[in-house]
């Protein structure tokens, strides 16, 4: 489903392709930089007339596909998760596994030691 985040990412990609800053794009279409920022982050849904102006200002047509489900590939999904979680490592040993769970983890080589060197979650 086309949602504000998907649309915002298209606007951001086209703006960058045109070599424009958010402020420059805003000026070209007669609006303010925070409006572009909200559209690109998906906090606001741009209207069709505004999208038309953005497309003309960047020289890149915006194609809206409605009524179909477009999901990212598995690899893209993994990249997105890594970016959004800031590389968080899910460590099963932090969940105080029961003896039964420990047997399944160890049989798979997922020992406590194997998680020791993993990246710690970053705050923020």
């Amino acid at each position: 489903m086309m949602n504000a985040v998907t649309l915002g990412s298209i606007v951001a990609r086209n703006r960058r392709k045109a070599g424009l800053t958010q402020a420059e794009l805003a000026e070209r279409i007669g609006t303010k930089q925070p409006v572009i920022s909200k559209i690109e982050s998906g906090a606001e849904f741009a209207t069709i007339p505004l999208l038309d102006r953005i497309a003309r200002a960047t020289g890149e047509p915006i194609v809206l596909k409605l009524g179909i489900d477009e999901e990212p590939t598995r690899e893209e999904r993994r990249r997105r998760v890594r970016r959004a979680t800031r590389g968080y490592t899910f460590n099963p040993w932090n969940r105080n596994p029961t003896p039964a769970e420990i047997k399944t983890l160890e049989r798979d080589g997922l020992t406590r030691d194997s998680f020791r060197g993993s990246q710690s979650p970053r705050r923020g």
Binding site: S9, E71, T85, N94, T98, A100, T104, G124
Partner: protein
């Protein structure tokens, strides 16, 4: 006696090195064995929806477990170990039935094809809400439930029914204001963080 199809699925699960696939095979077998079809929840569901190597420690499923079910589980090679039903083998598996029913809407569960059958997995919105609910107990920025909520939302942002998520949180707010307010705050934080991360991805 258990059905041969279920036995084959369990044998395949025992040989399967990948944890998610193994859990889904076992869930498929148990869907044929138990009186009521279970719904996969918890870490296995999170692993399924996020493709993020969550590493579930066990296979959590919601289903009412009767005495007859217990007999069938024992026939299928599962032994009771604490709160788990444990099946020994090349790749052992620990199964838990934490609740008889999921918290949420069963019709949102999806049918995941496994071999010649399917497994029911909790809907992505209800799993997300479960992680948000859990985050209220451990609201730190680096808590596992919060990271889980971020992972689910970022992996499946387009397909998630955000109006349903908002509706459930609003009804929690009416029923239990402190919990609802916390859920609302965490949900907003997660959505903002995910939107920021995804807006630069060009997907």
């Amino acid at each position: 006696m258990i059905r041969s199809e279920a036995r084959n699925l369990l044998d395949e699960a025992d040989r399967e090195g990948k944890r998610l696939r193994r859990h889904l095979l076992a869930a498929a077998a148990l869907s044929l064995i138990l009186e009521h079809r279970p719904i996969v929840v918890g870490g296995t569901a999170e692993d399924y929806w996020t493709d993020n190597d969550y590493v579930p420690t066990d296979l959590d499923m919601c289903a009412p477990i009767s005495k007859e079910d217990e007999r069938r589980l024992a026939n299928a090679g599962f032994k009771r170990e604490g709160r788990h039903w444990f099946r020994e083998g090349e790749h052992p598996i620990a199964v838990e039935f934490p609740e008889a029913r999921i918290e949420g809407e069963e019709q949102r569960a999806v049918e995941v094809p496994v071999g010649s059958t399917t497994v029911r997995v909790i809907g992505v919105e209800d799993l997300y809400l479960d992680r948000i609910r859990q985050s209220t107990a451990t609201p730190e920025e680096d808590s596992e439930p919060l990271a889980g909520a971020v992972a689910i939302a970022s992996a499946r942002y387009e397909r998630m029914d955000w109006r349903y998520v908002t509706k459930v949180i609003r009804s929690t707010l009416e029923r239990d204001p402190p919990l609802g307010a916390l859920m609302q705050r965490i949900d907003r934080r997660v959505r903002t963080r995910v939107r920021r991360a995804l807006s630069g991805s060009g997907f």
